[in-house]
Amino acid sequence: MSSTTTAPPAAAPSKEDRRGLADLWLRSPTLGPLIALAIAVVIFSLTSSTFMNIDNMSLVLQQTIVIATLALGQTLVILTAGIDLANAAIMVLGSLLFAKLAAQGQPPLLALVAGFAVCTVIGAVSGALVTRLKLPPFIVTLGLLTVVTALGRLYSDGNSWPVTSDLLGYLGKGSYLFGQFYVTPGMFVMLAMFGIVWYALSHTAWGKHVYAVGNDEEAARLTGIHVRQTLFSVYVVAGLIYAVAAWQALGRIPNADPNAFQTGNLDSITAVVIGGTSLFGGRGGVWGTLVGALIVAVLRSGLTQAGIDSLYQDVATGLLVIAAVAFDQWARRRAL
């Protein structure tokens, strides 16, 4: 029936199998990370008696929230074949605005609105620089990383500002379920954000355009997609998500510190890449990113409980990133 299968039947099965595996990987990019997460959880629950404790699981989840939210915005940018090095700096500036404005006596809600607005505007600035000046996202966000970090230090006078209002700490205020499982509003907010972005990416034309632009910008233009609008909107939405991450961060640690999250940008990229989203754009998705963030948290928690030095944890995380990208490349070559 198909005129394209010309391979001799004898050689076909093994090649077809490997093609099948690669094809499966390309079709369901979240599957690999999920399997990796499952393996990590099984291994650590065997090697450590405390790993599977409810309170430890709850802690792992709490530790994942901020990076996962940052990585959600990062996923959007990376899907367009870009990269955002400034995301954590934007988030830190947002949290400083929240905390300092409230500490200076402004209404907490106003502080929140101001922080959200500033983060979104910085996202819009990145978007404008990428789409109007046609600068590479790496350069734009590298520049903004420096600028925004400095702005944060200037604004905070180099000090950290404590959370003085219930609203600002709200996302971290939870209650215990089943005895020791700490459930916070932040968890639900994070899941809701992932759900919304997933819906937008998979069920709306905007999402199709984000993937198409990341796949092949020129082809997207030729099919009539407004490439610049799509790219710009991605950076604006990402800025908004970083503002939510800033709010999440104050819920987790009730103190806005200008020197916090200095490797947050790289940690978010790590989560995205381990989650199976391609750095070359156009492939991947948000659930992979959530799983990727969980993998990093589980790995760190499990290795800590096994008494392994945190520097070796960095080694393990780094190797995982390389392995994830290598596997992605292999699958793409194999499937073509």
């Binding site: 029936m1 198909s2 005129s3 394209t4 094809d23 390309l26 079709r27 819906y199 069920h203 709306t204 034309a205 905007w206 199709k208 355009h209 993937y211 198409a212 796949n215 092949d216 020129e218 082809a219 997207a220 030729l222 099919t223 009539g224 997609i225 156009g282 492939r283 499937a335 073509l336």
Partner: protein, 293 residues
């Protein structure tokens, strides 16, 4: 049925009203004049091949027809009424679709998504208007219908990721997309340039089927055998204007090539003449030789 219709067109090209007609197109780039009073005509139900040497102004002509450039002078008519395109999007809105030689598809997306890229359909009701939800089921069904109707049989599954397809199949997706949304005509810019022999054959078949379903096609190609295989008429472009308008049956490939290069031209009777005005033909080596007439 459309084949017969089209046979009639072949006999009497002047009988039907052209789908697209351009007269006296001029386009200058600084000191260079790329189009010097070029005419063009496309009749219903035909495949019009556009051939010409590099630098003949062929691609400028196509850009003018597809809206990529605005000509300085001259007129383009679509179904008899004058049109002025300021962008490819204008031309597309008027029902003109273009297939590019670079495979303009998103490789990591499936066939259905690619067919509807930039023209996605939303679900009816609140789900579509408020939640902007795409009607994936309807798009998939329409995509499958389109591929079936065009006989793109080598593609088994509409959900298949485009990068797992062969080059010919990918081009078939791009061509099907154009045929799906083109209401007036389809322009194909070297659609077989990146393809192997067998795959080119599949794409040429597809072009014929689009013509047979009533959509006229402008085919730009360097490949003479491909042109002679599918074209109903051939527009020979030379020095910024139409040098000849011929039917493939009336001339050999070498004769068309000599019209392209200017070694020969057509006199008012449609006979080949050399630059000095003597009757000529092309010998087996491809050289133009004078004949006694």
């Amino acid at each position: 049925m459309s084949t017969q219709q089209h046979e009639q067109d072949r006999v009497e090209p002047g009988a039907a009203e052209p789908v697209m007609a351009a007269t006296g197109l001029v386009k200058r780039y600084g000191k260079v004049t790329a189009l010097r009073g070029a005419d063009f005509e496309l009749l219903p139900g035909e495949i019009m091949a556009v051939v010409g040497d590099n630098g003949a102004g062929k691609s400028t002509l196509i850009k003018a027809l597809s809206g990529a450039i605005v000509p300085d002078e001259g007129e383009i008519r679509l179904d008899g009424s004058p049109v002025r395109f300021h962008s490819p999007l204008d031309a597309r809105k008027a029902g003109i679709e273009t297939v590019y030689q670079t495979l303009a598809v998103a490789p990591a997306m499936d066939i259905s998504s690619n067919l509807f890229l930039g023209r996605e359909q939303r679900k009816p009701g609140v789900r579509g208007s408020v939640f902007r939800m795409l009607d994936r089921k309807a798009m998939r069904a329409a995509a499958q219908d389109q591929l079936d109707a065009l006989g793109v049989a080598t593609v088994q599954n509409i959900d298949q990721i485009v990068e797992t397809l062969s080059g010919g199949q990918r081009q078939a997706v791009a061509v099907s997309r154009a045929a799906m949304f083109g209401t007036k005509l389809v322009i194909m810019d070297e659609p077989t340039a990146a393809l192997g022999v067998k795959e080119s054959g599949q794409v040429l078949d597809l072009i014929r089927r689009i013509r047979d379903r009533g959509l006229p096609v402008i085919l730009i190609s360097h490949n003479m055998p491909h042109v002679f295989e599918v074209a109903d008429r051939i527009h020979v472009h030379r020095l910024g204007r139409r040098a000849a308008l011929v039917q493939p049956g009336d001339y050999t490939m070498s004769e068309v090539v000599s019209l392209m290069t200017g070694a020969l031209s057509l006199d008012s009777d449609g006979a080949l003449v050399d630059p000095s005005g003597h009757r000529a033909e092309v010998d087996e080596q491809g050289h133009a030789v004078a004949v006694d007439g």
